[in-house]
């Protein structure tokens, strides 16, 4: 398990290569990268996505999610790297990867980790635009997705 809170830009390609070396003979490696958008919902230009975290609790919340995914999907390896601070458009906000013997487990684990990160990882974030800050909170869909995993 590799869980990193990064305050500098992250490189998904390098992280995927690392996850690949941690496959431990498992045949399936799934990943998800969240990239900072260039335009808001109403089309205005976003100059940055700014993420705030809270002390050690943020990393602990990420570790709990990676550990739960590892147990639930019998993963060979789980990886979460999450940015904090000012993320420029096109930069990666989050990279998640899972290796498992079969593809369904690896892909489901990545979806599961992303769904939980959206609503349970200790971050707050806002889009910075010419018009000011716009705080982003999970949508109803985000809440419904994370609830579905506990049914």
């Amino acid at each position: 398990m590799a869980v990193v809170l990064a305050t500098e830009p992250i490189n998904p390609a390098i992280l995927l290569a690392e996850a690949e070396t941690q496959s431990n003979g498992a045949g399936a490696l799934a990943s998800f990268t969240g990239l900072a958008r260039r335009a808001g919902k109403d089309g205005d230009t976003i100059t940055a996505l700014v993420l705030e975290h809270y002390r050690g609790l943020t990393l602990a919340s990420m570790q709990a999610i990676a550990a739960a995914a590892t147990a639930r999907f019998a993963l060979a390896h789980a990886h979460i790297t999450h940015r904090s601070g000012r993320v420029l458009p096109g930069e990666a906000i989050v990279f998640v990867a899972a290796t498992a013997p079969h593809r369904a487990a690896a892909l489901d684990a990545v979806a599961y980790m992303m769904d939980r990160l959206k609503t349970e990882a200790v971050f707050w974030k806002y889009e910075e635009t010419a018009g000011g800050k716009r705080w982003i909170e999970p949508t109803e869909t985000d809440h419904a997705r994370v609830t579905a995993w506990s049914l």
């Binding site: 809270y54 002390r55 609790l57 999450h82 992303m114 200790v122 707050w124 800050k133 909170e137």
Partner: protein
Amino acid sequence: MAVLTVELCGRLADMAAAAAVTLDVAEDGLSIADVRGHLARTFPALTDAITSDKVRACVDEAIVDDRAIVRAGQAVAFFPPLSGG
């Protein structure tokens, strides 16, 4: 009386125009409910948010409920809804 520092996370800091607030507390402490009430009175713009059950209290890096008692020196923070990923 001693001083308790309360951190306001995410949009709460914008609402109060302050990332942290200090409160005087007696030696036997204050409940989280009392802290919420104090913040609502001090920062009217924060009232709706800070009295909502969507805003959670965190003491020394653990989420606590409104009955928890906090004393000077503890790390108290209020969390609006989390938003990672």
